[in-house]
Amino acid sequence: MDATALLESTGALLPHLMVLLTGLVILTMDLFLTPRNRYLNELVGLAGLLLALILTLSSLGTPRQVFMGMAVSDHLSAFFNVTFLLIAALTILLSASYVRRENVSAGEYYTLILFATTGFMFVAAAADLVMVFLAIETLSIATYILAGLLRDEPRSQEAAFKYFMLGALSSAFFLYGIATVYGVLGNTSLGHLAQALGQGGMSPLLLMGMALLIVGLGFKVAVVPFHMWAPDVYDGAPTAVTAFMTAGPKAAAFAAFLRVFFQGFATPDLVQQWTPVFAILAALTMILGNFVALAQQSLKRMLAYSSIAHAGYAFVALVAHNSLGASSLLYYMVAYTLMSLGAFTMLMVVARREEQPYAFDDYAGLGTTHPLLAALMALFMFALAGFPPTAGFAGKFYVFSAAVQAGHYGLAVIGVLTSVLSVVYYARVIMIMYMREPERHQPALQLAPTTMAVLGITALGILYMGIFPGGVMQLAEQSVALLFQTKM
């Protein structure tokens, strides 16, 4: 690769480099910070993310492959990059008070968050299976550590261990899948997969490889039956980290699904093979996620199962192998990010200290003691349940429409029915907030400005996307257009 190509390639990946650089700067700064200047961590972090956002938007141009076909810079990667930058920024904001409250070493924490975000962005920009693997490993390793952030808290230690074991296991399956695909086709470049398949690559071994890839990625997204780790890990990890984990790695894994299965295994006969599998996974996930959420006694665990259920809804969008399906998936990712981060921030606020068991009783009478907070929580619950005019409703509407358009009526029906079921457990929170007396006199909650910012941004975003879904949907449609241009 000569110098100009190298410069061009690096230019295309500047946003990723910016995020990485910010992480490194924070890590180095940590050596010199005193407790007085700790706010610099968040400041530098947000500044870096803002720069990365500017770089992403300014490098939008013709889709191109960079670094000898290893990465791409196109509208799809740009859309996901903006989503990931949003996730990272919101996480930094909501962690600001959390980090001080729980006395966590902030430098490494923000560095790992930013490294994970770099990993997310590289997943979205991957054009070769080796890049998908390495990017997923980056974000996974950073997230394993983050789950164990509170080193002296037993639940956090357990969460980190379980997440690591099952995550590493899934990585091994994923890698075996890549090896098998490589063995059959002799190539791991996503663009060439589709071509190589045209020359008669269909074989039981290739199907085996695809199955292993589905298993590996399925773990990351926590669809049933690969979901076993999620409730325990989401429950035990520090709440700020859980918020990050439900949004970031999930969106990155869905990006990986899009790249691998919509760009890679995109020939019609292959699509026929994996679509039914995806459909079964989606159905199981929607059903199990919602049913088990009903029985939870801890709000954090309930949100964990609801996260599994939402991954199921998003999976339906993958099953509907059409333009509306893919764009609705993108829309759902943004919507779910906002809803989930908002809800977990509320959890963090009301719990006050990490060792609370997140019982529903914490919320008793919140309607009278903190009416604004209760209203926000109610908004988040409505959004997760899928009521109009929230982004949750719009997201589900688009996803199920895509399923119907593709002829998967059964999935759409299951989706609607389970959504109705989910109203039961979301409404439970709302009822407790407004219809019960406050438990005992607790001092008033004072929110840090950063936390208020997160709650404000997520709430406004949910309402905006719900009332005016067209804007984001149009961007999403533009982003996925390239996936459906060159179909064989």
Partner: protein, 190 residues
């Protein structure tokens, strides 16, 4: 040639079985070392000489040393129980076994008639020169991302494993005083 392959294959699989069945962790670690060595030897049979060297250096050299340090740091009683057989583990083992069986069948189905052309293994494949030519041109970006993986792992592992604050206080009293006037617990910002 066949002799060497079967030697390394059988010893390798045997020591792998030993790894997962030993009650003494140190024995398991040593069998793992043997497995790594057998796999490395198999690489040489496949003309991946550089990778064989890397395997020995990294796996047998670095990773095993890491494991041995961990084993020595962790005080484990000599006698350990194996995991009990119950429905869940039985199911997991069954699924794993079926997956392996399916893999073997699929492999032999696809490559049923394939034998490497005569003289193929005389062709050098995994020389350092060839590897370097590809690694630093086509695979430059993955190479750099791998360094990011290592960095993240390093930061994280050090963060998790270093002395806790209480251990630090015992060894050296804190010199900088806390700023006066901290907010009271019940007025804490959330």
């Amino acid at each position: 040639m066949y002799f060497f392959f079967f030697l390394f294959a059988i010893v390798g699989v045997f020591s792998a079985i030993m790894v997962i069945t030993r009650t003494n962790v140190m024995h398991a670690a040593l069998f793992l070392l043997l497995t790594f060595a057998c796999v490395g030897a198999t690489y040489v049979l496949l003309r991946a000489e550089f990778l064989a060297a890397v395997q020995v250096l990294v796996y047998a050299g670095a990773v095993m040393v890491l494991f041995l340090f961990a084993i020595l740091l962790v005080n484990i009683p000599r006698v350990m129980q194996m995991r009990q057989w119950n429905a869940q583990t039985g199911l997991a083992v069954g699924v794993a076994g079926l997956t392996g069986l399916w893999m073997v069948i699929a492999t032999t189905q696809t490559f049923r008639k394939f034998e490497l052309p005569a003289g193929a293994t005389e062709q050098a494949l995994g020389t350092p020169r060839a590897l370097a030519q590809v690694l630093f041109s086509d695979f430059m970006l993955p190479f750099e991302i791998a360094s990011l993986v290592l960095l993240a792992a390093m930061v994280g592992a050090i963060f998790l494993a270093r002395e806790t604050a209480s251990e630090e206080e015992q060894s050296a009293p804190d010199a900088t005083p806390e700023p006066a006037g901290r907010s009271q617990a019940d007025r804490q910002l959330v």
